[in-house]
Symmetry: C2
Subunit: 355 residues, 2 copies
């Protein structure tokens, strides 16, 4: 390793994006284990200055030189950029922790959630570790803990996904649309929202203000969306259950940040709510927030800006003693993206220290 002062060099590739901003925030809050932190983005953003660890750092353009002398590189960039540049960084000796979809299902790339499968990070033939999609991450820590005890057998998920899952453009689109609908009677007659919002619906196929849109990502076979397939495929890989039956419907909602999901999970044998609640309450990275009598259940407004997954509405299916119903909620930019990537990068750095 090329560490200065005995500390490894970290590159943040995609530092100027919505997730990049949260990465810098988290790096500034966590124990400082890094030597240099190099901020890298598209040539368009080069020269901008961003704050990390209380210092202004100038952003450099993504090129071969920028990736030289890096020990760990966290990537949050579009898939095609990751596909091109992550192998370059790895060839130059960096361990890449990639948050794009480019490598997640590559059998030579581990897909890592530190609370669920930390050891997978150590076997990385391509020098690349992938981190899951934000929707998968919103539930997988909770499911990992329940699976370890009960043995997961079937999974049905419906999502309530925040617009920031589509980056800054998603946030801008919702805010722009909200400014058009607030203070109006819109949302009560056919087509009124669509006319008010016009053709420019940002990264979403329909208006998202005062609406919900049952689509995320691109079209896959048999009518499934790419986001739905990611949740299925990634959950199977992380949990080590390649045959797990999974059905997912992904829906965008007018929330800025924090994804929510309803989960119906069937296990090997009978489960009890009491034991499920104990597991959730004691699992690392998970908070049990479940007392409807006191008005306690997680909502995005409670959860935004926090690290853990919040879990509420824990019920046993009335007609199946082997199944649980849950409502989970997590900040899609933190644990759903920047935090998980940072946790994995930090675990790699700790291994450097240990070796």
């Amino acid at each position: 390793m090329t560490a200065r002062d005995g500390k490894p060099t970290l590159a943040v590739v995609g530092a100027t994006g919505a997730v990049g901003a949260v990465m810098l925030q988290i790096l500034s809050q966590h124990a400082d284990i890094w030597g240099e932190i190099r901020l890298i983005a598209s040539p368009r953003s080069a020269g901008r200055k961003l704050a990390v660890r209380g210092e202004e750092v100038e952003v450099v353009a993504l090129d071969e030189e920028a990736l030289s002398g890096v020990d760990v590189a966290m990537f949050d960039v579009p898939d095609e950029i990751a596909r091109q540049w992550a192998p370059v960084a790895a060839a130059k000796g960096a361990v890449v922790v990639d948050n794009s979809g480019a490598f997640r299902m590559d059998p030579d790339v581990p897909l890592v959630v530190p609370e669920v499968n930390p050891h997978a990070a150590r076997v990385r033939p391509r020098g690349i570790i992938a981190t899951p999609n934000c929707t998968t991450l919103s539930m997988i820590v909770t499911l990992g803990a329940l699976h370890a005890e009960f043995g997961l057998r079937e999974l049905f998920v419906s999502s309530y996904q925040a617009v920031s899952g589509a980056g800054r453009a998603g946030i801008d689109a919702l805010r722009q649309q909200l400014s058009l609908v607030a203070g109006t009677e819109l949302g009560t007659s056919p087509g009124d929202l669509r006319r008010a919002v016009g053709d420019d619906t940002g990264p979403f196929p329909e208006p998202v203000a005062l609406n919900v849109v049952p689509w995320a990502g691109s079209l896959r076979e048999d009518g499934w969306s790419s986001e739905e397939m990611k949740v299925r495929d990634e959950s199977r890989k992380i949990l080590g259950l390649p045959e797990l039956p999974v059905a997912v419907t992904c829906v965008r909602v007018p929330v800025v940040t924090a994804h929510s999901l309803t989960v119906h999970a069937r296990f090997e044998g009978e489960v009890t709510v009491d034991r499920a609640r104990e597991i959730i309450a004691t699992a690392p990275g998970v908070v049990l927030f479940d007392n409807p009598a006191a008005g306690e259940f997680p909502t995005p407004a409670d959860v935004v800006g926090t690290d853990p997954t919040w879990v509420g509405r824990v019920r046993r299916a009335l007609d199946d003693p082997t199944a649980l119903e849950l409502f989970v909620c997590g900040d899609n930019l933190r644990k759903g993206a920047a935090l998980n990537t940072t946790q994995v990068a930090e675990s790699v750095a700790r291994d450097f220290g240990a070796s």
Copy 2:
């Protein structure tokens, strides 16, 4: 019957509410089969004038006299008002079509959706016919058609419920909250929405603007909400499947009108998407709107103000050839309440004509 000019007298009890307003709209659009249409509401609203069939009609207060000489009475009032006054109307000879929760599970009260179980309306020992909760109605016409062909065996539902399900107070709360959050950066830091909205969250336990709230109704046993139990119990009764396994999670979303639901439905044997789409496309009261390649899937913005249930995202479960995934969307004030109640009332009136 006490019909004038050979036409029956209709009472609309709860005429000044959000659902009442839609009832008057629908009565003005449908073929005019009624003699007198009497508008009834709380004493507080008596004397107001509302338009129906192009005429202004004065609202009278709910009392014994108001219910005299009525052939059919449509009730949309709180449960306790229905519990008190529906039997009074029935005792005076009216057939009551009640949209409250007061009588739905009464074994002597049929629970009727004309497209699914029309004949049940004719057996009404108490003179009362109940109509289902708006969330049940958003999916049950579609499920009835699929059940008739495939035989339903298991049902998992997650809802995306509009604020108008909580009446005018729900709409007012969302609009008020939207005026506070539009044009701000709210929704991105912990607790900011809650501070901005304050303690008055209207009929909802949490802020609903820029948020989703996994709670609707009151607390029932084992952590279930009353709304979730309604969807389970009413679906079983309407479909005539008293043992059907059903699991539901109800979530409120910042949409003014039109409930959406994700549905995972398992059937007796293997299903095909082609046949499912044929059934949906030809079922009365249902529209198939399902071509993701062309950006076609139902959203509340498409569906508000229309009569049918719109169905999209029709997929067969990848890991279970007997299960279908659907996204359904319906106007909770129309088919979800006013329209279904009016359809039932009209079918009763037609029976008068036939007898």
